[in-house]
Each structure stands twice: as structure tokens, then as C-alpha cells.
Amino acid sequence: MLRFIISRLLQAIPVIFIVITATFFLVRAAPGGPFDAEKVVLPEVKRALEAQYKLDLPLYEQYFAYLTDLAQGELGPSFKYPGRSVNEILFSGLPVTAELGFYALLIALIIGVTAGVLASLKPNTRQDYIPMSLAMIGICMPSFLLGPLLVLVFGIYLEWLPISGWGSIPGDKILPSITLGAAYAAYVARLSRAGMLEILSQDYIRTARAKGLPEWQVVSKHALRGGLIPVIAFLGPAFAGLLAGSFVVETIFQIPGLGRFYVQAAFNRDYTMILGTTVFLSTLIVLFNLISDVAAAWLNPRLRSQLSGGGK
């Protein structure tokens, strides 16, 4: 197992390296330098600024300088917010985004798994159709539409919940978490339904029934574990999606998280910020994919023994 994790980590390294390199050169290839827009800047000031940000060096030297900084965990200064480093900005936004993502994922898992499992137990009945139709709505209702609609209904017409902010008014975390989690709840519901249906048609479920196990034990003990492996494997990609989704949700609800900073940086052409955030988020996503892969493999005894023993 350890060997599997290490080999997956080794595979992740080139991916992260490609991300860093591609992002670096893409950003550098962008037409216009970061200070072109500000016409008031005098040529000598501009030169001084460029020297400060190492923009006067040849491209490859800038690249190696950036890599050296990165190796020390240093993402460089922000172009737009002089005096603040990208690290500082990232770490001020990270806890907020992490909390938002955590609630959204929790909602997605609890609602999704429950709905999917219930649907799979009585396929093609009302118990299947109703949750699955809701799931379809969840998939077809993107967060940037659901968010405003929720705000309109619960925030503006009913005035039940605050419509923006994060952690300043009680209850202001509810709408953003639901907005972000809804689509993933729908995916999880479809995944767990399909996974459970597959497992419930296996011969060993019949064996379990032939032993006289009550139905709830057949489901909880024999079916759930195999049926939910696809959900575990989905958590990695879901995490990447949640981060991207946080761009929208944080913009709609004006939440000071990573996603909002990223979008702002994109509009401000704050290159070091874009570069730093991309590298940071990409690394997180690659790591999460890795974790969910390893977890899914760990849950399968056959894979587990293959991976740990290298034998059999």
C-alpha cells in the first residue's frame, strides 16, 4: 500500500510541475505587462518596479528564480496589492473557502447518499423517481442560477436568511453552502444509486438473503461498502469542482475566500496572484485526487492485498 501511495505521489509530481511551468509561461505570454495599464507610471519608476519584480531578467532566469522561490514555499509579492505577498492573501482566504467547501461536501454526501441508496432499494417506483428527478434538477440548475434564485426567494421575498457575507450574521453560511453543494448532492445521488444497483444484482447479495439476513443488514453490511466505492472515488474530482464552484458562489455571496480573490486577480491582471493561486489550487486538487484514489483502492480488499503485498 505504501508503495502504491509513493508511486502515485511520484506520478503527481510531473503533473504539478507541468502546471507550474504551463502557468508561468502562459502568464508571461500574456499581451501587455502588468504595469502597462497604469499610464501615470514614469519610465524610470516602471523600470524600478520591473527590477523589483525581476521582470527585467531574461525569461528563463525569471522561471528559475520563481522555481527557487516556490521550492521554499514562497509565491512572491502581489502586483496589485503592494506590500502583501501572495502567501498572505492565500492564507487569509483559505480557511473561508475550506469551511464553505466542507459544508457543501457534507450536504452533498448526506443528501446524495441517502437519496441514492433509497432510490436503489426500490428501482422504478416512486421511491426512485422522486429523488432522481430532484437530482436531475440539481444537475441542470447551475450554481450561478440556483444562488441568485435562493437569494431572491429566501433572502429578499421571505427575508428568512441573510443574502451575503460569511460569519458576520448568524445563518449567512446556509445559502452559500446549499448553493455550492446542491449539484454535488445530485451527482452523488446518481452515483450511489448506480453503484448500489450494480452491487444489489450481485450473486453474493442472494447468498446473504439465503442466509436469512434481514434486508437492512443485507444492505448495510453487504451492499453499502461496494456500492459506495464510486462515491469515494468521485470525491477527488468533486473537490476540484467545488473549488471552481467557489469562484461563483463567493462572487454571488460576496464571501472573502480564495475563489473571489482568484476572480478578482484575473480581472486585475494581478499576474503573480494568478500564478500563485493556480499553482496552489492545482497542487491541492492533485493531492485530493490522490487521496480519494487511495481511499477507493483501500476499500477493495483485492486491490489492497495486490498493492500492499505486490504479490498474489
Binding site: D203, R209, K211, L299, P301
Partner: protein, 528 residues
């Protein structure tokens, strides 16, 4: 009093396309301490009848329409799900056909074994474990302690079936229902499991309901045989009566379908058509692992006009050998000559042209036909590819092929999924014959078919072989089939040929120990 007495059982399946009756008024009994065998082909309703007793048919679409099944004074069919659950796994236990899929891959063997004890007996886990290990020992598992904590994938099919049997017996059931428990196993393993079931049954005084498609298998162990056809019991009686004085035409047909006797191979065979020298086909899974030696240094000849039987169990390399000769599997080293032409050296256009001279018939007629092509297209492909005929008289040639393999001509525009297994195998045979080959590799061509269909296809192959003067390599795991169809036989074991010779000689005076054990494992030797 009978242990189980089933009367007029009726089961139907209700689907959107209508209701189909799967079981039509079936009656049978299982006496205490005896084995009742239900025999039938696919679709006979034999499994449905037994599953219905324990409420194990999926409902909907399954529905029990009527009947009585008395077991110890209760009517099983009238019990509620909760009451039935108390009987399942305690008084009545089951074992199933495919041990590879019947154990939960996510739970340890031990966890699955003790489950019936925990549910029905309220035993503590420690006591349950002691009992489980005892039973593992009894069903012949060598290291029961470590087995208890292992997962199913660490065991072979035979071992898993032993675990299944231990699990079924753990609560001392009075009735054991065994649904084709040996069908998925190799013949030597089958013999062991059958012996185990018979022994356990004798020592424990349980009644057994044994479902099978194979008369030969049940002839050794059954006290009572019930023959089913299309949802009805057509005949029942003691094995002796069934085998020697069958009344019903269907039973007679089943008996006649059991491959028996040896082919009259008195005539001298022709010159050597195919010569295989030191053939090796190894597969390398990854660069640092040991290669799998599927075929390892095999040499033999095939004479013109003969049927050479190639027998072996799963994993013996027999199919790979056939596919290597056909140039479908990559040959590692060695040489195959066909009519003094080196097949191993052929490539490109030469190989393509040569392929018309040798053809293959595959095991699974459901997989060997392209589901998107009509019979017409399937048969036209080889005819046009090898310029056997012009487009103008293509229809005539296809009609002739249909006649040859015994298919009605008006089926010509149908697709494979509209045919039965036997009909599909006929189409596949027609395709193989279309190129007018001299040599055919038949890879288990009848093992996916029902017994009566199997007999028809074997007859067809033998007749076509005579008519077209075909040379054939007939690959099979079934000794009786090989004995019936082949002139000479090769026995393969772990990639090597362990014995070769005329059928009469190999079957009557086997030299290799492996051949001897294979022959000893053939079911129904005494009865047939």
C-alpha cells in the same frame, strides 16, 4: 413422512410485455436423508422452482400463483417474509452455482461464515468462530485459522465452494438446496465437491435438493431424479428407472444426448497436414514478473482428415494452443507448418490469403457473432473477401451454406440476438465453412450449449467433417465429448502435453497420472 413435499407449484413472471409461466404445476418430494435431483435444461424452470420455495425470486416480476410446499408441517409458500427468514440459513440452506461471485469480496470469509450463527443462534462471536473453524476443517480446508481471516479472492473456485458448503451447513440444516454447485468447476474439482456433498449428507442425515443440467453428474449421487422441461415435471423416479427405463420422450432425448461411445477410427488417416514443433506461447504481464507459460514446448502432428481432440482443465493452455496455431495468439518460439508451409513466418498478404485454408469456431456463440450484422452479412464477408464467389451468385452460395448447417433460409435477414444459442453456433460454423477451409480449430464449441443442442451440434460437426474432408483440432474440457468425436487425443496440463495417443488407448490404458485422475473424475461412469 417426506421432509419436503411440493405440490402443484406455479410461478410466473409478470413483465411489461405480458405474463410468462415459468413453473406450471410442479410436484416433487425430498425424503429425509436422501438426495433428490432436479434435471433440466436452461429455461426448464428448475432453479425458479427451488428459489420460489424460500422466497428468493425477485418480486416483481416473479409471482407465486399457487401450490403447497410443506416442510415440517408448515406451508413455505404461505409464510411471511419474516417467518421465511427464520428458516433460510437455519433449517433450509443453499449453495449456488458460481462460487467466484457468491461470496462477498469485501468481507472476510470468517465474517461471512459466522453470520448465520449470529442471526439464528445468538451465539457470541468467539463461540461462532470456534464453530466456523471446525466446519472449515470438516469441508477439507487445510488451514482453517488463517482462512477465517482471509478474503474470498485469495482462494480458487473449488476452495470457495467448500467455504460455501461450510456456510450452508453451519446451522445444521435439515434440507440443503444445491443449485448447480459443480457446474462452474473443473472436472477433477467437481468430483471432489460431489464426493464432499455425498459424504456430508450421509454423516449429517440431511435431505438434499440438487439442481443440475447434467444427468451424468446426478447419476452418481441421487436417490430420486425429477426431470423438468419447460416448467413441467415430465418424469421422475429412481436413477436406475430413469436411466434404463425412461418413459417420456424428453428423458429419452436427454439420455441419448449424453455423448457416448467412441468414433470408429479404423480407417488409416492421411499424411501429416499440420506439424507443431517446440511451440511456446508465453505471456509477459509486466517486465519484472515471471512470464506465464501458457503453452510450453509442445510438439505434435495432425493428420489430414482426422479429428484431434485436445483436452485439459481451465488454465491448461489448450485454448491458447489452438489460438497460437491460428496465429491469433503471439508465438514466443517454435514452429507450426501447414502443408509443409511455415505458418510462423507468414505475414501480411500471404497470411491473409492463407487464412482461408484454416478457420476457427469459438466457444461462445453469443460473443462470436457481430451483433450488428445480419446472417447474410456475416456469411457474405468471407465469401467476398476471399473471392470464393462473385457478387452475382452470392445469394446462391449463402443459401447453400444455410442448408449445410441446417438453418432455414428465411432467417437470412435476421440478427444474431434473434437466434437461440444452438442456431447461433450453426451460423458461426457456416461462417467458418464459407472459406472452404481444410483445417478447423473448434474451441469448446459445445460447452455453452444445452445437452440436447450439444448433441445436435456435435453430429453436425462430424457430418460436415466427413462431407468436406475436414481436419479438425477439437478443444474441450469434457472427456466424454472428446471420446465421442475424436480419433486421437492430446491431454494438456499446465502448458505441456502430458499424454497423446488414439482415443481407445488413452481412455482404456492411460499412462500419465494426470490422465488417470481426469478419467477417474468423469461423472456417471458407473451408470453410463
Amino acid at each position: 413422512m417426506s421432509l419436503l413435499n411440493v405440490e402443484n407449484l406455479e410461478v410466473s413472471f409478470v413483465t411489461r410485455n405480458g405474463t410468462s409461466k415459468a413453473v406450471k404445476g410442479v410436484s416433487f418430494t425430498v425424503e429425509p436423508k436422501q438426495i433428490t435431483a432436479i434435471i433440466g435444461e436452461s429455461g426448464s424452470g428448475k432453479s425458479v422452482s427451488c428459489y420460489a420455495l424460500l422466497g428468493l425470486i425477485p418480486s416483481p416480476p416473479g409471482r407465486i400463483d399457487g401450490g403447497v410446499a410443506s416442510f415440517e408441517g408448515q406451508n413455505l409458500l404461505a409464510l411471511s417474509e419474516v417467518e421465511l427468514r427464520k428458516i433460510r440459513g437455519s433449517d433450509i440452506a443453499m449453495i449456488f452455482q458460481d462460487p467466484m461471485t457468491c461470496l462477498n469480496p469485501y468481507l472476510t470469509i470468517g465474517e461471512q461464515l459466522i453470520e448465520p450463527l449470529l442471526i439464528h443462534r445468538n451465539l457470541s462471536r468467539a463461540d461462532a468462530k470456534t464453530r466456523a473453524i471446525e466446519l472449515l476443517n470438516e469441508v477439507g480446508i487445510r488451514s482453517p485459522d488463517s482462512t477465517f481471516d482471509s478474503f474470498p479472492h485469495e482462494f480458487s473456485g473449488g476452495m470457495r465452494q467448500r467455504v460455501m458448503i461450510a456456510m450452508a451447513l453451519i446451522n445444521e440444516p435439515k434440507l440443503l438446496i444445491a443449485d448447480e454447485p459443480t457446474t462452474a468447476l473443473d472436472v477433477t474439482i467437481q468430483a471432489q465437491i460431489l464426493r464432499l456433498i455425498a459424504d456430508l449428507q450421509k454423516h449429517r442425515d440431511i435431505g438434499v435438493l440438487f439442481i443440475s443440467h447434467d444427468l451424468a453428474v446426478v447419476s452418481d449421487i441421487a436417490d430420486q431424479i425429477v426431470v423438468m422441461e419447460q416448467g413441467e415435471v415430465v418424469e421422475s423416479g429412481a436413477p436406475d428407472a430413469i436411466f434404463n427405463h425412461a418413459q417420456h420422450p424428453y428423458t429419452q432425448k436427454l439420455l441419448a444426448a449424453i455423448p457416448s461411445g467412441e468414433r470408429d477410427s479404423g480407417e488409416a488417416k492421411g499424411d501429416t497436414l499440420i506439424n507443431v514443433r517446440n511451440l511456446r506461447t508465453w505471456f509477459q504481464a509486466s517486465s519484472d514478473s515471471e512470464p506465464v507459460k501458457a503453452v510450453d514446448d509442445v510438439s505434435f502432428d495432425i493428420h489430414r482428415g482426422e479429428i484431434l481432440g485436445l483436452v485439459g482443465e481451465s488454465g491448461s493452455g489448450k485454448s491458447t494452443l489452438g489460438r497460437s496455431i491460428m496465429r491469433l495468439a503471439p508465438i514466443t518460439s517454435g514452429e507450426v507448418t501447414f502443408d509443409e508451409m511455415n505458418l510462423t513466418a507468414l505475414a501480411g498478404r500471404h497470411l491473409k490469403n492463407f487464412r482461408s485454408r484454416m478457420q476457427m469456431i469459438f466457444q461462445d456463440p453469443f460473443a462470436s457473432l457481430n451483433p450488428r450484422m445480419t446472417v447474410y452479412d456475416t456469411l457474405a464477408e468471407p465469401l467476398l473477401l476471399h473471392n470464393i464467389c462473385q457478387r452475382a451468385n452470392l445469394d446462391q452460395h449463402i443459401a447453400k451454406l444455410m442448408d449445410d448447417v441446417g438453418l432455414a433460409r428465411n432467417f437470412i435477414r435476421k440478427y444474431p440476438h434473434e437466434f437461440s444459442g444452438g442456431q447461433r453456433q450453426r451460423i458461426a460454423i457456416g461462417r467458418a465453412l464459407a472459406t472452404r477451409p481444410e483445417f478447423i480449430v473448434a474451441d469448446e464449441p459445445v460447452s455453452a450449449l444445452d445437452v440436447t443442442i450439444q448433441a445436435q451440434i456435435l453430429d453436425l460437426l462430424m457430418a460436415l467433417g466427413r462431407e468436406h474432408n475436414l481436419t479438425m483440432l477439437f478443444v474441450s474440457h469434457d472427456m466424454a465429448v472428446i471420446r465421442h468425436i475424436a480419433d486421437r487425443v492430446l491431454v494438456m496440463y499446465q502448458g505441456k502435453v502430458v499424454e497423446a495417443g488414439p482415443v481407445t488407448q488413452v481412455f482404456n490404458q492411460p499412462q500419465a497420472p494426470y490422465t488417470q485422475s481426469l478419467l477417474a473424475s468423469i461423472p456417471g461412469a458407473a451408470m453410463l
